[in-house]
């Protein structure tokens, strides 16, 4: 009994930590801070999934955790760092609504998702139940972030935090071997979207996707 409550407590702490990091993402208004926080988000996700794998003895979830760790906590933040550096946009992120209002809306969304999820999932085992509730709130917070950020990098980070929330839900729904494939597919999709949005942004600004234009632009800024 003690072991069971302990494992539940750790899972609760990790998932709650992820939710907290989602709020930190909303709060961040510096570009590098945003990317580092996103890496932290993915890191907590991988810890959470790994704990799930350990508790439920489902080894395939370890793969999901590893993918989350390598791809989303290391590769994508590094790539985004580089892109931000090359674009020379490491100043503050513009937000359309003030941070205080965003936070309040975020709290409201968390309350909404709990009010929605808890009655629906009454019969499910408590671990899956809390994972579903948390993942819905992380998802909604990611959407909120995409709505409030005008900057493309902010929107990409919002999108990827949504995806982290989805993986948390998938890991919570135990006995789902498809989870691995889904997460890989999503990661590829996300990487594709990252590139896509950036190409769009660059083309919108310079009428071309030529990188030389970017170089001369950076020279001008200095």
């Amino acid at each position: 009994m003690i072991a069971e409550t302990f494992s539940y407590d750790v899972a609760h702490m990790l998932a709650g930590g992820m939710l907290l990091v989602s709020f930190m993402l909303l709060y961040q208004d510096r570009m590098y801070g945003l990317l580092n926080t996103f890496a932290l988000h993915a890191f907590v996700l991988s810890l959470s999934v790994a704990w799930e794998a350990y508790v439920n003895q489902s080894p395939h979830l370890y793969i999901t955790a590893a993918i989350a760790l390598v791809l989303k906590a290391i590769v994508i933040p590094t790539a985004l760092h580089r892109i931000v550096q090359r674009l020379g946009i490491h100043r503050t992120v513009e937000t359309t609504v003030g941070i205080g209002a965003t936070m309040l809306v975020g709290i409201g969304l968390v309350a909404l998702s709990m009010a929605l999820m808890l009655p629906v999932t009454d019969a499910v085992d408590p671990l899956a139940r809390q994972d579903l509730a948390f993942s819905l709130s992380i998802l909604l917070l990611g959407l909120l972030m995409m709505v409030t950020r005008r900057n493309a990098v902010g929107q990409v980070v919002g999108l990827m935090s949504i995806e982290n929330g989805l993986i948390l839900a998938a890991a919570g729904a135990n006995g789902m071997p498809l989870v691995v494939e889904i997460s890989v597919a999503f990661s590829v999709l996300i990487a594709f979207m990252v590139i896509g949005i950036f190409l769009f942004r660059i083309r919108e600004r310079f009428d071309t996707v030529d990188v030389h234009v970017l170089d001369s632009f950076r020279g001008e800024r200095k």
């Binding site: 609760h12 702490m13 709650g16 930590g17 709290i107 968390v110 709990m114 139940r129």
Partner: protein, 316 residues
């Protein structure tokens, strides 16, 4: 009965006597961290004695409120401080009031302080009062939410019960408690006008909050107010340690030796928190006044989140 009253009296005297010492210690550690020698730890006592002997200078238009406010503020803070378990739980007064009463007492102390700042009608006083109320309007809801979270976990708003629950193994790992702790620390920093919000060591600066309100006070009034603000700091330290770090708290009915050990633990906690506070204050810069709402808003957000997360735990 007599011994219970005696222990309560010991606690009330102890908080009163230790409060200036805590302030002095924080100042001393801060000075050492800046590689200055700093005044002696006992300096706040000397200041208080000096102020108590000085003549009171009152503005011509000062009302009775201006003269009564220091004593009201001191009384409410002292009562609140005597309700928080310091070295022992279950003291005789603690059954008369719970955490919500403590919050209310602190709130009324702040109310009188803001009124006193406005009373004489100087521009600094009004400025300080308006800022203090702005800070309080965010810090107080955050404090209440922390109280609710703790009460939901421990099943009681009674501080002695809360401390006993936090010592039992039932607590486990809870993310809500961590959030509540951070929120309470931010509130404590804001309410004691420590560095990122206000600078306690400056005088006559445009960004001051607490000092601006008490600028017109002198003599024994100022001494009483200074004691009250030291007591406030001690109160928050005791509150945080009794909720989140209740190790070593003795029971009021325990043997004298256990009470003494509890007291030693309490003094150690005070020392540690004074050092931590000093390190925190020297490592951070003061914020612009208009960024303060964001800082305290974080506390409010965390406390709200902590209360919300309680609904997905196993107990509820």
């Amino acid at each position: 009965m007599i011994s219970e009253l005696f222990i309560q009296a010991v606690q009330m005297l102890a908080v009163l006597l230790l409060a200036p010492l805590l302030t002095g210690l924080v100042r001393r550690v801060k000075a050492r961290l800046l590689r200055r020698r700093g005044p002696s730890i006992l300096q706040p006592y000397r200041d208080l004695v000096r102020l108590a002997h000085k003549e009171v200078v009152l503005a011509d238009n000062a009302s009775w409120l201006f003269r009564a406010a220091p004593y009201l503020i001191f009384a409410t803070t002292w009562v609140a401080a005597s309700l928080v378990p310091t070295f022992a739980t279950g003291l005789i007064f603690s059954w008369a009031a719970d955490l919500i009463v403590i919050v209310a007492l602190l709130g009324s102390a702040r109310f009188f302080l803001a009124l006193a700042g406005l009373d004489v009608g100087t521009s600094f006083g009004g400025l300080g009062s308006s800022r203090e109320v702005m800070i309080a309007s965010l810090a107080e809801p955050a404090l209440i939410m922390v109280v609710f979270t703790v009460a939901m976990i421990a099943g009681s708003t009674q501080l002695s019960t809360v401390s006993a629950f936090m010592l039992s193994p039932e607590v486990g790992l809870r993310v809500s408690l961590g959030l509540a702790l951070v929120a309470l620390i931010i509130v404590a920093i804001a309410e004691n006008s420590r560095i990122p919000v206000d600078n306690p060591s400056t005088h006559l600066e445009l960004t001051m909050v607490h000092e601006a309100m008490i600028l017109e006070y002198s003599g024994r009034h100022l001494a009483v107010l200074e004691t009250a603000s030291s007591l406030n700091l001690l109160l928050y330290v005791s509150l945080i340690s009794s909720i989140f770090f209740p190790w070593g708290l003795a029971d009021a009915n325990a043997a004298p030796l256990a009470l003494f050990t509890g007291f030693v633990f309490y003094v150690v906690k005070l020392l540690v928190s004074a050092c931590l506070l000093a390190v925190f204050e020297t490592s951070i810069a003061k914020m612009r006044v208009f960024r303060v709402p964001q800082f305290i808003g974080t506390a409010l957000m965390m406390a709200l989140l902590a209360a919300l997360l309680m609904f997905v735990t196993r107990s509820l």
